[in-house]
């Protein structure tokens, strides 16, 4: 650590997040590797280090003795100020070396509100933010992660996108980069060659053309690059790297525990859920594999908590077997097991009771919509009966804090649907009155709503988001309908959701907006400390663009979308069919009951989904 940095760190908040040196970090001799990679997470250390994907890819890349992959996170404002004042470039935590000198800078892009931080981190590293302004091969700036399934808004800044799961894909990209570096290729030659790797999208090889009304006319594909880029998946999860020796931060982070990923994908097909479509088809780890890795990860880290993580954990076949096996090992060691994202059904509740015998922390259910009609529209197959039954079990079991999550502004939503949220909450309350074991302790029911954001690659990708005013009107309606003082109502600010909606279905022209926001001081936009709606609106205006064009417009059935160049395996025609079913209020059975032929099976070598 340089004396300059040492001084800075005595002045900033929570300096331990900027030092590196944690247990299990990987240090190599820079002289003995072919490539140095900075794995950048465009949010704080506490958020980034909680990300399982980061731990997986960090470990996977470092398995190659020729690659040293190090970490880098977005500094908080005080640290950024110090770095800029002292003219210290952004550095990697392991070596402390400036990432601008690395061969590759890889960003993990999980959510749209992190985009401005990507620009800010590049700038702090002394690297030009626009891809076109970076003439040399290195540092190559690439990105992967969920929000890359619409890469267009970030196309001006990123040299290439890795679409889908990175375990193998990233290695193929880096292998090619090694060769290019060794043989002194110009950047353009490398990018063209990289475009031939399945799953790689090189934005400079695709030129969008627009209609007069602002919609996309066509995309000119240059130099023989592939017409569509299909997401990569790992077919056999047990066969790839699993982070049993993940880095253990020396300071508190958001998820300070072992995270055990059971499977990828989800069989449910909730129509609003991007992850549900983007990660198809379902692929699972074997129970034996998970038991073994869980034990290794716990003894290797010293964590006293393990959490099972997947999109819909209770759908894991063999979950009882797994939790029994884990509990048997964990209980004598005083290690606790937690299960997030449970469904409100009997099975899950039984599990919940077994697992969390001691700690009765809050329970969360996400019915998403208040009425059965609207839940059918979004294909959230939870009945009121099942929900109330779960609540009964919870209240009988001594729980007295319950959170209920909903979205406002879902397609076809009426005032009746909004009012149904209040009714449902009242029913939950009377369920507590009838079943509470200890009524003297009281009950706290929290209803939260957020504004629905239509996402690309979902059946609602054509839908308009409701306006901020309309959302607030519905909030008011709901607020006035909630009478009981035992029910608290929280609503998320709609302005962030509007920007998120514009970015998530945006086209390449939004690059100018993102750059304007960043030049105007925008960064860490997922934090209310930093987000400024005004700044975003000014940036849109300056770029001559209207966020409503992207967020609040019902799109034509045949409209060409900026993200159509990316295939996640699920066909657009399937999404259209699902959208139609939504309007008809028809539910679609989950993949285990019946395969509806979404197309994602074609991503598998064996061409058939499990179960």
């Amino acid at each position: 650590m340089t004396p300059k940095l040492e001084r800075i760190l005595t002045r900033v908040q929570k300096p331990a997040r900027y030092t590196g040196g944690e247990y299990n970090e990987i240090v190599k001799d820079p002289e003995k590797v072919d490539l140095r990679v900075a794995f950048c997470f465009p949010d704080t250390y506490e958020i980034g280090m909680s990300n399982l994907g980061l731990q997986i890819l960090y470990g996977a890349m470092n398995e190659d003795p020729g690659i040293w992959c190090e970490r880098c996170f977005a500094p908080w404002g005080d640290m950024e100020e110090e770095l800029r004042r002292e003219k210290l470039p952004l550095y990697a935590l392991e070596s402390g070396d400036p990432i601008g000198d690395f061969d590759a800078i890889a960003f993990s892009l999980g959510y749209e509100m992190a985009y401005t931080s990507v620009l800010n981190m590049l700038d702090l590293a002394g690297v030009p933010v626009r891809s076109a302004d970076r003439e040399s091969l290195t540092p190559l700036v690439f990105a992967g992660g969920t929000s890359c399934i619409n890469p267009e808004p970030m196309a001006d800044f990123i040299d290439l996108f890795a679409i889908g799961e990175g375990e193998k894909l990233d290695m193929e990209i880096l292998e090619l980069l090694k060769k290019a570096k060794r043989e002194g290729w110009p950047k353009s030659r490398f990018l063209r060659a990289a475009a031939d790797i399945p799953g790689v999208y090189v934005p400079s090889l695709y030129e969008p053309e627009y209609n007069d009304d602002g919609t996309l006319r066509r995309v000119n594909v240059l130099d023989g690059a592939p017409e569509t880029v299909t997401k990569r998946i790992v077919e056999d999860l047990d066969s790839v790297y699993y982070p049993t020796h993940a880095i253990v931060p020396s300071t508190e982070i958001v998820h300070d525990r072992v995270v055990l990923e059971l499977f990828r994908g989800c069989v449910r097909g909730c129509r609003f859920c991007q992850a549900g479509f983007a990660y198809r088809p379902v692929r699972r780890h074997s129970t034996e594999f998970l038991l073994e890795k869980a034990k290794e990860a716990l003894s290797g880290s010293g964590y006293e908590e393990i959490t099972l993580s997947s999109l819909s954990t209770s759908d894991f076949k063999g979950l009882s077997e797994l939790t029994d096996g884990l509990l048997e090992w964990c209980e004598p060691r005083k290690i606790s097991l937690s299960l997030p994202s449970l469904r409100a059904d009997n099975f899950s509740m039984g599990l919940m009771e077994r697992v969390q015998k001691v700690r009765k922390s809050g329970l969360t259910f996400a019915p998403e919509a208040g009425s059965q009609r609207l839940r059918d529209v979004i294909n959230k197959n939870v009945t009121e009966e099942a929900l109330l039954n779960s609540c009964r079990i919870a209240f009988e079991g001594g729980w007295s804090t319950l959170k209920l999550y909903f979205m406002l502004g879902l397609p076809t939503e009426t005032d009746e649907d909004v009012l149904a949220i209040a009714e449902l909450a009242e029913k939950v309350l009377s369920c507590w009155r009838q079943n509470a074991v200890n009524r003297a302790r009281g009950v706290k029911i929290t209803v939260s709503t957020s504004m629905f954001v239509p996402k690309p690659h979902t059946p609602f990708e054509w839908e308009a988001q409701v306006s901020v005013e309309e959302y607030l009107r519905r909030v008011k309606l709901l607020r006035e309908a909630i009478k009981s003082r035992a029910i608290t109502y929280n609503w998320h600010a709609p302005d962030v959701s509007l920007i998120e909606a514009a970015l998530s279905r945006g086209d390449r022209r939004l690059g100018a907006v993102i750059e304007n926001v960043w030049r105007d001081g925008g960064r860490l936009d997922s934090w209310s400390d930093y987000f400024s709606f005004e700044r975003w609106m000014n940036a849109f205006e300056k770029a001559g663009l209207d966020p409503d064009f992207y967020a609040a417009r019902v799109r034509g059935e045949d409209e060409l979308f900026p993200w159509d160049v990316i295939s996640v395996g699920v066909r657009k025609s399937y999404l259209a069919r699902e959208r139609k079913a939504a309007y008809e209020g028809k539910i679609t059975p989950d993949c285990r009951v019946k395969c509806m032929g979404c197309g994602a099976n074609c991503l598998l070598e064996r061409r058939a989904c499990d179960e």
Binding site: M1, S250, S299
Partner: protein
């Protein structure tokens, strides 16, 4: 009770006390050494630190007590713990605890004073610290109070350090009442602000009892 003597330096000096407790807890689990837990509804490993160290201060003389269970010998403890430590934390020794932390009287510290824009005011500082009294304002819970810090020190020496810094060695009262290294420097800020260093780095070098023997 068992006691460990450990270092916390380099990058690890930025780990806060709360985070250090969490970290040590995990270091024990990684080592596979069984240790005593507290009783009660929410049992946690029993760990008692002699004197919490402030963020940014290095130390080569930290002490922590814990209850070693299950027949492990104290001699094997340092190596087993060190295998699971983050960079900068190193366990130097482990032994049966024979005296209580309340017997700690003095703390020997080193301060490196950096002057960026001027020559080091060696003589002027020596003069300052050789006054009869050094009365500084100390912030307390009930506002502020004036204290003479000299009786709370067991000598202050200043000499030229490496790279043009000044090296100050001092013996400070460890408890009842304690004098912190930062207060030693705030004497300069308050009484002779023109001599204030641009940056000061602190390091604990030894803990001592009232007879000035190293406390173990």
């Amino acid at each position: 009770m068992s006691r460990i003597l450990f270092k916390k330096e380099g990058r690890a000096k930025f780990i806060s006390h709360l985070d250090l407790m969490r970290t040590m807890q995990r270091v024990f689990i990684r080592s596979g050494l069984a240790i005593r837990h507290t009783e009660g509804f929410n049992p946690h490993p029993y760990m008692n630190f002699a004197m919490p160290l402030s963020v940014g201060t290095e130390s080569v003389c930290e002490l922590m007590d814990f209850g070693l269970l299950g027949g492990a010998e104290p001699e094997e403890v340092p190596a087993r713990l060190n295998a699971g430590c983050p960079q900068g934390i190193e366990i130097l020794d482990c032994y049966e605890e024979k005296r209580k932390f309340k017997d700690i009287k003095w703390l020997d510290i080193e301060a490196r004073l950096f002057y960026d824009y001027r020559a080091c005011p060696l003589e002027a500082l020596r003069e300052l610290y050789s006054r009869e009294q050094l009365i500084i304002e100390k912030r307390t819970k009930r506002g502020s109070a004036e204290v003479d810090i000299l009786p709370l020190t067991g000598g202050i020496e200043i000499e030229p350090g490496e790279d043009g810094q000044l090296l100050m060695r001092s013996r400070l009262s460890a408890q009842d009442p304690a004098l912190s290294p930062a207060q030693l420097i705030s004497a300069i800020d308050q009484l002779a602000p023109e001599l204030s260093p641009d940056f000061t780095a602190f390091r604990r070098v030894e803990v001592r009892d009232s007879d000035l023997h190293p406390f173990r």
